[in-house]
């Protein structure tokens, strides 16, 4: 049924789109949520839009026909490499929502700002979006550092942020919805899988030197030692931007671990995998499970350097469901056939939809009401990755998948977990 759905070009919201062609997905969405949402949706689709003074009591940039939102990613600087996918996905989602009639009968107007891979700039631009443009929501940030810089601004000005990256957890704010996985969702199921299928006992942990790999590896070490009864034979952190892994690889060779468990990011990631391959450590005779390679990174690393290695993610582009195939088709139609779709890109796509669902449930753009709707436990979305459920702790209940990389830069999904509850503050770790 999805195949008939026309490809929606974002930005041409004025174009009339047949309502029936969107009905299946719409129906699915409304069925998944409560009756209250159903009424709100029905109102937005078929009736007149609710008056502006009803949906906005806090002087947001909402008019009778338009609601303004912000987008805050790095389109320049070193992080632009990673954030481009999320920028594209969020624009796609917003275009599609507009084509469906917008949110509460209002078309979404997007203001894009550049965080320039610099955390103070992120804070400055978030402030600008909230205090000058009075945006109803911000879709943005990628690194933990940029989120940490923006968070006090959000809390002060009472704004909403939809954050797409898998991250370290240890955070929960009324003002943020985390559409990526927090660390426990990404780590435990993956370790279980590798311990079981590869009969792994010894692990070598390596990550880039900052908060996400450090926290993730802390969880992993504890889990390996106490639950899996394995051992960690090495734990190492590479300076951000480091391009030389010769000595690290030699250490790994000396320790001969069953599993190399990696969370190396950015430009270092490419050097890391190219040098592994050149040193003869390949998927043929070694098991490597990484938390930081999506299709975006695979594109830069080159599939031939990754083949046979595993990634633990909630989404892979190759996911074989009609919903995902439709999404991939729409994404490629808008952004080119070569554009890869990674985990964060898909999570970025979820942001505007979750916001839409929450706003419609709240019947208002007001931050407090939207946040309350988000904490109701009744928001869900039929995402490309499958149904996702927004839990009261502002994180999504999702599945974890393990993908085995192929030479073409795509992954075969070899394992899909059950739904995993988000737990940003794990105890005992």
């Amino acid at each position: 049924m999805f195949k008939k759905m026309p490809v929606v070009p974002a930005g041409c919201s004025a174009e009339p789109v047949s309502k029936t062609s969107f009905l299946p997905m719409h129906k699915k969405l409304t069925l998944a949520v409560t009756g209250a949402l159903f009424i709100a949706c029905a109102g937005s689709s078929f009736g007149a839009a609710p008056p502006t003074d009803k949906v906005d009591t806090t002087h947001l940039a909402v008019t009778d026909t338009e609601v303004t939102v912000g987008q805050l990613h790095s389109s320049t600087g070193t992080m632009a490499i990673s954030e481009t996918g999320a920028i594209e996905a969020e624009k796609l989602a917003i275009g599609q929502i507009n084509a469906m009639g917008g949110v509460l009968g209002r078309k979404i107007k997007l203001i894009q700002e550049d965080g320039a891979s610099d955390w103070p700039t992120f804070a400055e631009k978030a402030k600008k979006l909230l205090e000058e443009n009075h945006v109803a929501a911000i879709f943005g940030c990628w690194t933990s550092a940029s989120r940490k810089a923006v968070l006090p601004v959000l809390e002060r000005d009472n704004g909403l942020l939809y954050y797409p990256t898998f991250y370290e957890g240890l955070e929960q704010s009324k003002n943020v919805v985390y559409t990526g996985q927090e660390a426990t969702q990404q780590v435990f199921a993956g370790l279980d899988w590798v311990a079981k299928t590869k009969n792994a006992k010894t692990f070598y942990l390596i990550g880039s030197d900052y908060i996400w790999p450090r926290t993730t590896m802390k969880l992993a070490r504890k889990y390996i030692e106490t639950v899996l009864h394995g051992s960690v034979v090495g734990e190492e952190y590479a300076a951000l931007g480091s391009t030389d892994f010769g000595s690290t690889i030699n250490k790994i060779r000396l320790k001969k671990p069953d599993v190399i468990y990696a969370a190396v990011v950015g430009g270092s990631n490419v050097s890391w995998f190219k040098q592994l391959k050149a040193a003869g450590i390949t998927g043929k005779d070694h098991t490597l499970l990484t938390l930081s390679v999506t299709e975006d990174e695979a594109n830069g690393i080159g599939g031939e350097n990754l083949v046979g290695f595993y990634s633990a993610m909630k989404y892979f582009q190759s996911l074989d469901t009609p919903r995902n195939k439709e999404f991939v088709k729409q994404f490629k139609a808008k952004w080119g056939a070569d554009a890869p779709i990674g985990d964060v890109t898909q999570a970025g796509y979820e942001g505007p939809w979750i916001w839409k669902a929450a706003v419609e449930k709240a019947g208002s753009f007001d931050t407090d009401k939207v946040a309350k709707a988000e904490e109701s436990g009744q928001i869900s979305f039929d995402a490309p990755e499958g149904m996702v459920y927004l839990e009261p702790n502002h994180h999504l209940k999702t599945r974890l998948r393990i993908g085995e990389w192929r030479t073409d830069g795509q992954a075969d999904i070899v394992y899909t977990s059950d739904y995993i509850m988000p737990n940003p503050f794990p105890t005992g770790y």
């Binding site: 389109s75 320049t76 600087g77 070193t78 632009a80 490499i81 954030e83 481009t84 996918g85 030197d209 190492e236 952190y237 590479a238 300076a239 931007g241 480091s242 391009t243 030389d244 892994f245 010769g246 000595s247 690290t248 690889i249 030699n250 250490k251 060779r253 000396l254 430009g267 990631n269 490419v270 050097s271 190219k274 040098q275 391959k277 050149a278 040193a279 003869g280 975006d296 990174e297 594109n299 830069g300 690393i301 080159g302 031939e304 350097n305 890869p340």
Partner: protein, 307 residues
Amino acid sequence: MGGYSISDLWSILVMQGFSGLSLFSVLLLMALGLAIIFGQMGVINMAHGEFMTIGAYTIYMFSKVTEQYFPSLMPYYFVVAIFAAFGFAFAAGYLVEYLLIRHLYKRPLDTLLATWGLSLIMQQIFRTVFGAREVSATLPDWLMGSWKPTPDIDIPLNGLFVMAISIVVTAAVVLFLYRSSWGLKVRATTQNRVMAGSVGINTRKVDRVTFAVGCGIAGIAGATFTTIASTGPTSGSLYIVDTFLVVVFGGAGSVIGTVSSAFSIAQAQSILTFFLTNAMGKVVTLLTIIIILMMRPEGLFTSKVRK
């Protein structure tokens, strides 16, 4: 190191030695172009990294074109592409010298600001033309994988390749500077610009060619590094600090200085990274360089003409 057999330790020693040598070649290749420009002309080229990126994208373009139209030539394109990388970077350098640098010879510190602006512009051009994401060239099979002299020892082929290229380039630079008439003119201009001009050397032209050659070598370096590192709009910025350190540590205007400084930095970093953590290894290396520079402020080797 209890629990490891002698043969284990031996193979690690060999491979560790090789990884130091391979880092040495990387540093040398990065620094040679800059050493020529900085040492011979006193110009601080902050856009050096971006000229390396030109080389990297050249490899990417050649790989895509070859894959598409001449798949049978895939094993060989890399060699041609390296020459092309030199050519493109040389041409870009020639142009930049003509438009920008030649107006600033009397104000060497201003070249720093102007080339910084240039590097911003070049990064944005890369981003606009090739996209913000990283790209990956499909490398010929003979460049990937490893050579196993014994079952326990893996010598990375791309490391050997980088070493070979850096030896060739260094030899070419030495020949160019000390055995060619161009080199003679370059050295004469460096030592005394006015005198060189008065004996009929076109010093402007010498400057332009020197700058362009330096950029061309950066292009080769960037092309070679596609075998070990990433290709993206900001890839060049990963190298710029290390590059400057190697040049300063070696002492400007001395090829032998650049070689020995690259060697000592690489070995120190490689050994320290093995025994400490990766990040600490780097910090200790940098601190050591600073301390040595404080004791020998003009670098390991100095040419006598500098004031």
